[in-house]
Symmetry: C2
């Protein structure tokens, strides 16, 4: 079951064992906080099922959603995780979820032992990088309505699982504005 994560990669028995020993299965209930701010970010998480998000609370107390994650996505506070600083994001479970978590130190050891795994994560990182760069581009060049339409097209599976105010805070607008945008789209 853990091996679904690495489908497409051929692994020896020994490698499989190692991986099965480093990933831990964990469950969270809707509303649970997987990671609070100002904690050490020791793990990243693979979503086996359910839905989570990471968000940032700005100095005015407003939430900004950075990332959603559903089945087969990975999630963490990657700012804290990669730069070895205390968490700046909160990871919240927004639909009951089963995750596989892996410790940063374990994964780095695995990189030494199984280069195929290091490559897998390098490529995953490259794909995320592309999507975050596209998001910066969209934020700079499109009005809220277009960003919302694109969001619904790009992440139809996510839209069904999350609240409107989660989407609004991802798009960088208020829940009231999103409501007006939705109304406008609906009447056509």
């Amino acid at each position: 079951m853990i091996l679904e994560i690495f489908k497409g990669i051929t692994l020896t028995k020994q490698e499989t064992d190692r991986i099965e020993n480093t990933f831990k299965k964990v469950h969270f209930k809707k509303g649970d906080i997987v990671l609070h701010t100002n904690e050490t970010v020791t793990h990243q998480y693979y979503v086996y099922f359910g839905c989570l998000r990471t968000y940032f609370i700005d100095p005015q107390g407003k939430e900004h959603t950075i990332q959603f994650a559903i089945k087969d996505w990975w999630i963490s506070d990657y700012i804290g995780y990669f730069s070895e600083t205390k968490s700046v994001l909160t990871i919240e479970c927004i639909e009951d979820a089963t995750l596989f978590k892996i410790a940063k130190k374990d994964i780095e050891e695995t990189y030494d032992q199984i280069p195929k795994i290091e490559r897998f994560f390098r490529k995953k990182m490259e794909r995320s990088f592309v999507s975050f760069q596209k998001r910066i581009l969209a934020n700079l060049s499109q009005p809220a309505k277009e960003r919302y339409i694109n969001f619904t097209k790009t992440y139809p599976n996510i839209e069904q699982q999350v609240k409107n105010y989660h989407i609004a805070s991802y798009l960088g607008i208020t829940t009231e504005s999103l409501s007006r945008i939705r109304k406008e789209i609906a009447k056509k």
Copy 2:
């Protein structure tokens, strides 16, 4: 000289040779376009000196600066580069520059031969990922004035080398707005 890029990594003579053969030194003049849109993105570039930027031209014809690069930074249209699509960004030289360019296919071969190099690029990717995620966060949570102040603090070396309208298009505002913000800051 090329090896400055990999300072901190110990390489054998053979590895050094391979690297010296795959990186090509190239010069560009201020105003030169290193990559146009809608081209195949075959290379990424290490800046030995000079200054470049990548920008996106939106459907209304407005430019949006995605990235600057000065000495010791890397630059490319990473959207096209990693996702194997035609370029969506333009790479422009904004101060006479000397670059080392490396072909994607060469670097991927190098990854097979020198795992230390794959690791170097993985870590570089992780650091970029962090900074782009911080930028998304800043764009979502700060007004233009604060984003500008942070920009000047974070990239003092870049500010001196680029035009105000480059900075404006990086911050997601017009050059007129940036002018007002600068005036406001100056009068205090």
